[in-house]
C-alpha cells in the first residue's frame, strides 16, 4: 500500500515480540496469582478501558491500536507493552494531559489541558494503559 505505513511498522514488529513475551509471562503467572490482583486496581483499570473506548471521552481507538479494541485506527502508535514503554505514571499522564509539551506539532489532542477528560478520568486511563 506504500511506504507511508512504515511510520509504525518497526514499532509494531518490536512490540509484537515483547507482547508475546509479556503474554507468556502473564499466562504463566495467572494460574496462581489471579486472586492476588488488587480488586480496587482492577476496578480502575476497567473504568479506564471505558474512558479509552468511549467515542465521547478518550476515543483513543480512533488512532491507536489496542489489543481487543474494535476498529482501531493507525494514525498513532499502537498501545502495546505500555508499562515497559511508559513506566513513569506521571510522564504518561502528562503525555495525555498535554502531548504538545513533548511534540508541539503532534495531532494528538491535549486531553487534560483542553478539559476533554477530568483528572479522575485521566488517572484511570493511565491505569488501564499501563496494564496494556
Amino acid at each position: 500500500m506504500g511506504s507511508f505505513q512504515l511510520k509504525h511498522i518497526s514499532v509494531i514488529a518490536g512490540l509484537a515480540a515483547s507482547l508475546m513475551l509479556v503474554t507468556g509471562l502473564v499466562t504463566a503467572q495467572d494460574s496462581g496469582a489471579e486472586n492476588s490482583v488488587n480488586p480496587e486496581l482492577a476496578k480502575r483499570i476497567e473504568a479506564g478501558r471505558v474512558v479509552l473506548e468511549d467515542r465521547k471521552k478518550g476515543n483513543c481507538l480512533s488512532c491507536h491500536l489496542v489489543i481487543g479494541g474494535e476498529l482501531p485506527g493507525n494514525a498513532g502508535p499502537p498501545l502495546i507493552a505500555m508499562k515497559a514503554r511508559w513506566p513513569d505514571r506521571a510522564a504518561l499522564k502528562s503525555q495525555i494531559y498535554d502531548p504538545n509539551l513533548r511534540n508541539p506539532d503532534t495531532i494528538m489532542p491535549p486531553y487534560g489541558r483542553h478539559r476533554m477528560l477530568t483528572d479522575t478520568e485521566l488517572d484511570v486511563l493511565v491505569d488501564f494503559i499501563q496494564s496494556l
Binding site: 506539532d105 489541558r113 478539559r115
Partner: protein
Amino acid sequence: MKELFIFSLMALSLVACGKQDQAVATTETETQDQATTVVAEVAETRDFSSLIQQAEDLYAQTKAANHAWSVNLDRLKEARQSASEGDMDNAVANAEEAIKLAELALIQAEAEKTLWQDRVPK
C-alpha cells in the same frame, strides 16, 4: 475609582443590614430564618446571572475571534436549561465550565495568530 466607590457603598450597607438584623434578632427569630433562606436564594440567582453573563460574554469573544468551541456552546445551553428548570447547582457548574472552556479557546486563538505560519510546507 467608580468600582471602589460602589464597593464602599456595598460594604456600608452590609454593615447597616447587620446592625438592623441584630436589633430584631431577639424578637423575631423565625422570620429571620425564613428571610435568610430567601436572601440565599436571591444571592444564588444573582450569582448565576452574573456567571452566565460572563460565560456569554466570553463565548461571544471566542466567536468574534473565529475560535468558538462546540463544547463551550453545549455547556452554555445546559446552564441556561438547568437554570430554567431550577437546578441551580447544575446551572452554576455548567456556566463555570463554559467560562473555563471559553478562556482556553481564547488562549488558542491568541497563540494560533502566529503559530500557523511555520506550518506551511516550503
